[in-house]
């Protein structure tokens, strides 16, 4: 009783494999695709599966229904084993309308299954999507097509609940969810619980959504669609949760104040994709303060003011924001104040493609200030690491009295994975020393012998009134100084202070793959999953390929040179035109090659593998 099916697959092949499964949903912004994705994750998490999800938002707020530029998608890869990316391509795509099919078909694996809502493949829908003819008529090439009148079936299923037509159509996502839960043998219970809570105030909608969910599930059952249930994963005893990079970072920021005992003062100006962090923090509300400034300059300056006052100033934004913070960052370097500036990278230059990912802000972060203004730059590699990196940043900032830049990106911010919640009791102590120096010879540029950090005495402390600022200061009195030798010395001191940070940090270590051999792949930031998976695959295939992934980009960690020397070739893989590669080459004079893509999209594992293969064969 399948409504319309091409390629002669009246029944979908059953397949019971340990291979990770990739499912992609695509529909109008109004179709509730992101919600559907989140609910599917809920069940996966409930089964203790591992997963990695990635939402693919349109740039428009709410584009006219049915247009290609208004399509929102959600992709999830899940498995009983570790999952590090949302998957190169989908095993199954569920397209809510022709525009969704058009824009997402390229994301499906060869031979993959495409489910479409037949009810939307009418003249109007096809035209809006820019199709001259119904694409189903010619078949979808290598893909399997399953065309179901989801709209109609949903309307039928919810008919009894009495919701209006709009609400009824809206329930399509639950119908699809029901179907997919069936297909992957997942439990409906967590979803039902959520529906109960969420729609408690609108019983008709509650009933409609449940009805749709059950109808979709029943459809799969009745049609005897094959079930591909991933094997039960090992049971984890620690508590875990689903977390996006944004949420992990927000928790990390909240944790800073708790661990340091200092107020955390988060100042920012909204910008995609960083604003989600502001929202998350504003929602947390307690233990941290948020301040929405009039622009990024004010944001970072307010954060600096807060740090001057003894709090930890944090300011986040994306590329254009970091650009605007350039001058103030120089002040923080000169005034030697702790400060954390987060840059959620997006595709540039200029406004570029604001919702897309990229790693092209690294050199700006490292070098983009006038004068000699060195500062540390860090980058988390996974959504979960967005938590850890914040503690690391705070530790460095406080210990060295320096601004720190953290580079995340659009992909990391939105992607979600299963996260083992750290034990709050075991998190590090970040409290700064508040011992007062000798009052009589006090000046604000007295330094710690080891870290070279200047002392941090905050306004309000009796007996230590002092002035700081952006003019060069005498190293031995803190007064303004134009003395040439003093300047040379202060420039060197500030540089040395930053250089010493890597002495206190662990050296670089191979992440995965060979410890020596043919090719060393160096990466940083959000490309972690794709690079690690690619190297793991090559490793299994018997190639001597190693993967080094940096979280501390500046100063570079110790040991890179040594590791690199154990490989015949080095390739730096990044979503830009070779930023880290330039740093590596200039520091170590290693003929590092480049694996670059600047398309606004994360790496595909297959592409990475292919390029490394090429290098192996050269």
């Amino acid at each position: 009783m399948l409504d319309k099916t091409k390629n002669d697959t009246t029944k979908i092949e059953a397949k019971r494999t340990q291979e990770p499964i990739v499912v992609r949903f695509a529909g109008d912004s109004g179709d509730g695709v992101q919600l559907l994705g989140a609910q599917f994750v809920r069940s996966a998490a409930d089964s203790e599966l591992n997963f990695f999800t990635f939402p693919d938002y349109p740039a428009e707020i709410r584009a006219p229904a049915g247009t290609t530029f208004g399509i929102s998608a959600f992709q999830i890869q899940f498995n009983s084993d570790t999952v590090l990316t949302p998957g190169d391509a989908a095993d199954v795509l569920i397209a809510f309308n022709p525009a969704a099919l058009k824009t997402n078909l390229t994301e499906v694996k060869t031979g993959g299954l495409v489910v479409v809502d037949e009810g939307t493949f009418n003249k109007r829908g096809l035209k809006k999507a820019g199709y001259d003819a119904d694409p189903r008529d010619a078949g979808l090439g290598e893909h399997q097509l399953l065309s179901i009148d989801i709209s109609k079936r949903t309307l039928e299923a919810v008919a009894e609940t009495g919701v209006g037509r709009k609400q009824a159509v809206m329930a399509r996502n639950f119908w699809v969810l029901g179907l997919v839960l069936w297909m992957y043998g997942q439990n409906r219970k967590p979803v039902n619980n959520w529906i109960d809570k969420k729609f408690a105030k609108t019983p008709d909608v509650l009933a409609a959504n449940k009805a749709a969910l059950n109808a979709g599930h029943a459809y799969g059952e009745t049609m005897e669609l094959a079930v591909q249930s991933p094997a039960s994963p090992l049971h984890v005893s620690e508590p875990y949760r689903v977390i996006t990079g944004t949420d992990a970072m927000a928790l990390g920021i909240a944790a800073i104040s708790s661990l340091s005992g200092l107020e955390t003062f988060y100042c920012s100006y909204p910008i995609t994709p960083a604003s989600a962090l502001l929202h998350a923090l504003a929602k947390i509300g307690s233990g941290i303060r948020t301040f929405q400034a009039e622009d990024e300059i004010a944001a970072v300056c307010a954060a600096i003011g807060a740090s001057y006052g003894g709090a930890i100033g944090v300011s986040a934004g994306s590329g254009p924001s970091l650009a605007l913070k350039t001058e103030a960052l120089g002040l923080a370097v000169a005034a030697e104040l702790p400060l954390i500036v987060i840059n959620v990278q997006r595709a540039g230059p200029s406004t570029g493609m604001p919702t897309k990912t990229e790693q092209a802000d690294l050199l700006m972060a490292v070098f983009g200030r006038h004068g000699e203004a060195p500062l540390p730059v860090l980058a988390p590699a996974t959504p979960g690491e967005c938590f850890d990196i914040m503690l690391d940043a705070a530790k460095i900032a406080i210990e060295a009295m320096t601004p720190v830049i953290v580079l995340s990106d659009a992909y990391l911010a939105n992607a979600a994975e299963k996260w083992i919640v750290p034990d709050a009791e075991k998190l590090p102590d970040l409290r700064p020393s508040r011992d007062l120096p000798d009052e009589s010879n006090y000046h604000p540029y007295l330094r710690d012998d080891v870290t070279l950090a200047r002392n941090w005495i905050i306004p309000g402390t009796p007996g230590f009134v002092h002035r700081i600022g952006g003019l060069e200061k005498a190293h031995d009195s803190g007064d303004i100084s134009y003395d040439p030798n003093n300047h040379d010395k202060m420039v060197a001191l500030r540089a040395e202070k930053i250089a010493r940070i890597s002495e206190r940090c662990p050296p670089a270590e191979i992440e995965t793959g060979a410890e020596e051999g043919d090719v060393l792949v160096i990466g940083w930031g959000s490309t972690y999953g794709a690079l690690k998976t690619a190297v793991d695959n090559l490793d299994e295939a018997g190639h001597a390929v190693g993967h080094l992934h940096l979280r501390r980009l500046w100063p570079l960690p110790r040991g890179i040179e040594k590791i690199a020397s154990r490989f015949k070739k080095v390739i730096v893989a990044e979503l830009n035109h070779g930023h880290l590669r330039r740093l590596i080459r200039s520091e170590y004079l290693i003929p590092a090659e480049a694996l670059n893509r600047v398309s606004g999209q994360p790496f595909k594992i297959a592409d990475v593998e292919a390029e490394i293969h090429q290098l192996l064969n050269r």
Partner: protein, 332 residues
């Protein structure tokens, strides 16, 4: 508050003052030191934040906490400081370039947010530190190194801009008016919320006498109204002139008392009237005086006072942190 007796000396640093001899900044420094001593908060509870410019060197000469930041951004830095440390008495000092040119946006926003800061604008109608280019308060036609044939930009009226931004305290005084400036500064400091004080300041090197008779002991009374709440807006050497509302033009105009209006017709100053303040701020035209004093003072809840209660919470302890990390949505 004034428990410890403090003197201006308690607010004086060992730093050699580096303004040009004769600069109006010296007089302002003197007034501020005196006012700080009179207010009597211990120096370590006071912080001065400045941008860049001659005016912005101010913090070096006060033995309070001080932060000499970057050009135009003092109000933003001070906002962060004050919100993080509400117990401090935070002052912001800058020139007309600092506050109104590059820093204009922060000035507007700190005023409308009503963050409890004392903002002192040293208006010398010139960029002093960069050697004398015309500034946003320079008169049209000002000849300067960057406008050798006269500037074309019409000047900003700082008080009017502040009022337009939603400031709740706006006042004016001048460097040399030591019988006026300290009182205005005290009022500004006492005001809860952002207080904006425009101080006409003479740059003897690049714009000498820009405010001409206004700060002049002899000529002043004829061209300056010292507005005081509840008092009639009277001026003139013999207090023979005043301001009345002209319903024809919908604005205030100067009159000679007796000739053009009776003493009773003279408008009274009302600090709480925004319309009056705006009218006084832009007072213009033949015979129109410059109005000094507190033009507007209408306290409202400060930014901090308007924040939701939990904004003020202390850092979470580890157990609260643990709950937060686990989250309501934690899947187990």
């Amino acid at each position: 508050m004034n428990e410890i007796a403090l003197s201006a000396k308690d607010f004086t640093t060992d730093q050699e003052v580096r303004w040009c001899p004769g600069c109006g900044d010296y007089a302002i420094l003197k007034a501020v030191r005196k006012v700080l001593a009179d207010i009597g908060r211990p120096p370590h509870e006071v912080a001065f934040v400045s941008g860049i410019g001659c005016a912005a060197r101010f913090p070096y000469y006060l033995s309070t906490y001080g932060f000499h930041t970057i050009h135009g951004r003092a109000a933003a830095v001070a906002s962060g400081l004050k919100l993080a440390r509400p117990e401090l008495d935070v002052w912001v000092v800058g020139g007309d370039g600092d506050f109104l040119s590059i820093g204009g946006n922060h000035t507007i926003h700190v005023l409308r947010r009503n963050i409890d800061l004392n903002l002192l604008l040293f208006n010398n109608a010139i960029y002093g530190l960069t050697k004398g280019q015309y500034s946003p308060t320079s008169a049209i036609g000002t000849r300067s190194p960057s406008s050798p044939e006269g500037s074309a930009d019409s000047p900003i009226n700082a008080a009017s801009l502040a009022l337009g931004s939603g400031a709740r305290f706006v006042a004016r005084s001048a460097d040399t008016l030591q019988d006026h400036l300290p009182e205005i500064l005290k009022r500004a400091q006492a005001h809860k919320g952002a207080s904006f004080v425009e101080i006409f300041q003479n740059c003897i090197v690049y714009n000498d006498n820009a405010f001409g008779p206004i700060t002049d002991k002899t000529a002043g009374p004829d061209v300056v109204v010292r507005a005081e709440h509840g008092e009639p807006l009277i001026f003139g050497k013999d207090r023979e002139k005043g301001l009345v509302f002209d319903p024809e033009r919908n604005q205030f105009k100067p009159v000679v008392i007796g000739d053009e209006a009776t003493r009773d017709q003279i408008a009274h100053h009302d600090e709480t009237s925004l319309t009056l303040a705006q009218a006084l701020a832009v007072m213009d035209g033949p015979g129109a005086p410059m109005v000094l004093g507190v033009l507007y003072c209408a306290p409202e809840a400060t930014y901090r006072e308007r924040l939701p209660e939990n904004y003020r919470t202390k850092p979470l302890d580890r157990s609260a942190l643990s709950d937060l990390l686990l989250g309501a949505a934690a899947s187990r």
